[in-house]
Symmetry: C2
Subunit: 356 residues, 2 copies
């Protein structure tokens, strides 16, 4: 069933810097609260946990944006924290407050107790969702799998939830670095297994979300975040169904370290909206593709203004292949549907000129 030929492979080609007739486009958090059909399914599910852990529901919402808009990729509907959830930390979501864990990892005993989840057993619901989405997509567009980075998972696990100052994990980093390395190594092993299982189940591209790498100093970023992401990338089976499975690495607020990120083995880097895409392209020496980077808030502007902002992003990257259009971070719940549509239409209409 997974072997339906891929009709639109623009994303995969752009991520590998192969020529394409136009720039492909997808949206981080494209299956989300700005879509009325998502809110309907979410209400029916009763809870976010039920929604993400029921393969049929996860499949349904993964397909919603692709059915509504001319997007060039679907992304698995899931959460970046499925691995710590599978480790038994008690993931739950408080409305308006984001994810948190009932049992944070704060001492040596808690770190030592953690085991590596077996994806086909402990994360079966995710893999079943991947298989179902692939089947339902029937080759229309490729499916992106994902997870959080080791550092980002560790942030949530040690802090117990979202944080502003990251006092607990940074105390561990500065005062007990060996313990943190133990935790990160375990997470890297778990993530590599999990992403390889997503590939086996049908994911055609992968994205590592390093949401919190940007709170580190440069040297700590390389030691505690980038190192483990590179390790994971090196362990992935990058070939599936006769094609390379490209990997996108995204460190929000990581603009200072693009050169190092470009050496990680990833095929593409996600770029947040604070960076200039053309400058980023020069800094990585054209060795990786770039994904991004419209300011998500630009979608509050009128459609004509959105079109101008899309053009600025395309201009900034410039001519040639290796650009995947996206926002610089996830789409926000308040965005109007016709504004998202205006962005996508502008990419379709304006981008061919950059590929001639």
């Amino acid at each position: 069933m997974n072997s339906a030929p891929l009709k639109n492979d623009l994303l995969l080609r752009a991520l590998l810097r192969e020529p394409t007739p136009r720039t492909p486009v997808w949206i981080m958090r494209q299956a989300g609260r700005y879509l009325p059909e998502y809110r309907e399914t979410r209400a029916r599910a009763g809870s976010f946990i039920t929604l993400m852990s029921t393969p049929e529901l996860a499949c349904e919402v993964s397909l919603q944006p692709v059915n509504r808009f001319a997007l060039d990729a679907a992304i698995l509907f899931s959460d970046i924290l499925t691995i710590p959830a599978a480790m038994g930390l008690g993931l739950h979501f408080v409305e308006g407050e984001g994810p948190s864990f009932e049992r944070p990892v704060r001492d040596a005993a808690a770190v030592t107790k953690l085991g590596v989840p077996d994806p086909e057993q402990d994360l079966l619901y995710v893999l079943d969702a991947v298989r179902l989405i692939r089947s339902e997509l029937a080759g229309r567009v490729p499916l992106i799998g994902f997870t959080g980075s080791p550092w980002t998972l560790a942030c949530y696990m040690v802090e117990g939830g979202a944080s502003k100052e990251f006092a607990h994990i940074k105390s561990m980093l500065y005062a007990e670095p060996a313990r943190l390395h133990q935790l990160l190594a375990l997470l890297a092993r778990s993530i590599a297994l999990y992403l390889n299982a997503q590939i086996a189940a049908g994911a055609q591209a992968l994205m590592l979300f390093d949401t919190w790498g940007g709170v580190l100093t440069g040297s700590a970023y390389r030691e505690f975040s980038l190192h483990y992401m590179s390790t994971i990338v090196g362990q992935l089976k990058r070939e599936s169904e006769g094609r390379r499975v490209p990997v996108i690495l995204f460190t929000k607020g990581g603009g200072a370290w693009l050169e190092s990120m470009g050496q990680s083995g990833a095929d593409a880097l996600g770029i947040d909206w604070t960076q200039d895409l053309g400058e980023a392209r020069r800094r990585v020496g054209g060795q990786v593709a770039l994904q991004g980077n419209l300011d998500p808030a630009a979608l509050h502007a009128p459609p004509a203004r959105i079109r101008e902002e899309v053009k600025k992003v395309l201009d900034s990257f410039g001519k040639g292949s290796g650009h995947v259009f996206n926002l610089g971070h996830g789409i926000t719940p308040g965005v109007k549907l016709e504004h998202a549509a205006a962005m996508i239409a502008a990419v379709h209409e304006l981008s061919p000129a950059y590929h001639r």
Copy 2:
């Protein structure tokens, strides 16, 4: 009384890139909750608003860190939002949630209604505090005055308080840029008057805190934040008591734009901990001094480790003048006193080697 000769002018000299025997050091939010004497005064005041708006109390807490530690500067105890408070927006502080305004500025009518505060009338309590602190300092160390940047004040005024996504002000930026420019121009005029009044009252250096500039794209940063900070810097009376009054500009998360910030007319740039100080120095071409940039979380490490991290920061800047040691952001409430002391002692002991 203000004319007591300045006994320690290391800060002023370093900010002007003049030679000093060692690197001066102060701490952002050095008068704050990590100090037991601050918590005592704060409790006596009853509320944060009373504390900051009573000159005697503001003076008392401004001097506490200077009395306890070998710091090379005092900074006025105040808030970055005194100007919008003086404009009548109803500033208040909810414990644990930060500042907010009762009457946010959301439409044309609200923008048009705003007036420029007269510092010696509407912000007299701040200027009285400056005069009192100068008198009490009696020339021990220089006094730094400050305010928030126009963009940062506008963020709080339009959002009504702290924000994660800045949806209201960014909607204004993308959909009604002329209205936002009207607001920012008014704030720039108000800030220039206010800072000049702080200089007249005795401030010997000034800092502009652009807490939220880092949420913008590069072009929006230059248009909506940096432009107005440059305008202000150009309007300041930079000479007082026979000395130049140096200006420090700090955009948190502004690492991508240091070259432009270096052209703003400011004497020094604050650098957050995500940037490499040596690289920042190269990028600004030695045309401005740099202030920073130890990760505030490093103060959770044991004193011996703090000393190593201080050395890394000094190494990163390298030899020569033009560096003011500081954290890369404000000190956090949970820091132990002996850890702050260890940082300051390390700067005193290790930095002379960089000035030979």
